[in-house]
């Protein structure tokens, strides 16, 4: 799968109609400045990694939250997923730092 990092590429795609709920936790939430939001990513955004790249271009706060994509953990509908997981059919996607419970 080709990587799509330029916003022009994303914007050229047809917008999806489906709304996707995003949730943020810990310092990802703090940097973005909100705990959750609804987004409609363009169709070119196919995987969790694509979504992170797309979000990173939405503004300074997103760029800061996702400045090191490799450390960001993700869950689709409350199940841990890797960055190459497709997002099709997801209702809620959460982004957060490595966990520090226990």
């Amino acid at each position: 799968m080709k990587k799509m990092r330029q916003s022009t590429k994303f914007e050229a795609e047809i917008m999806n109609n489906e709304n996707l709920k995003l949730s943020y936790f810990a310092w990802v939430r703090e940097r973005i400045g909100r705990a959750s939001e609804d987004v409609a990513p363009p169709q070119g955004v196919r995987t969790v990694g694509d979504l992170i790249a797309w979000l990173g271009e939405r503004g300074e706060e997103y760029a800061y939250a996702f400045e090191r994509p490799a450390v960001i953990r993700a869950a689709i509908d409350r199940v841990h997923v890797k960055h190459d997981t497709p997002i099709a059919g997801a209702r809620e996607i959460a982004f957060f730092p490595p966990m520090t419970g226990g």
Binding site: F25, A26, A94, F96, P98, M99, G101, G102
Partner: protein, 158 residues
Amino acid sequence: MATVRIQHEDFDAAAEAALLTRGRTDAGAVVTFTGLCRDEQGTLSALELEHYPGMAEDEIARVAAEAEQRWPLLGATIIHRYGRIRPGDNIVLVVTVSSHRQAAFAAADFLMDYLKTRAPFWKMEIRADGSEGQWVEAKDADDKALEKWRKGAVGSRD
């Protein structure tokens, strides 16, 4: 089927262990592990534990189901607290019951190792000097701890 609870309220480890063994005669071993809020340098006022409601329960239940597949457990209880927790207070409880100690010890150890890296909780340190809170960084040692469970774990059935 393990009992999983995510709560702010404190728990009573002895009472939880007693609940699992009450009325049964086949249990030969109970292991309880309690994780406490620790202040190593005398600089910590409290930990603020954030969690992902819904996923925290689901993920711990998934880890518990895995433990139940690997060891012959007669019961298990996992309680994880969230919110503000002071040094010396309880954070997490794991209780495992089995016929023999090896399975109870190993399953409790496994549960804690997986909880630390898979349960969606994040700790923020609130300093005694009133400075802004700092997120606790995940430790490589916690990821490394998982490696011992990949193959031929001690006390596992395979």
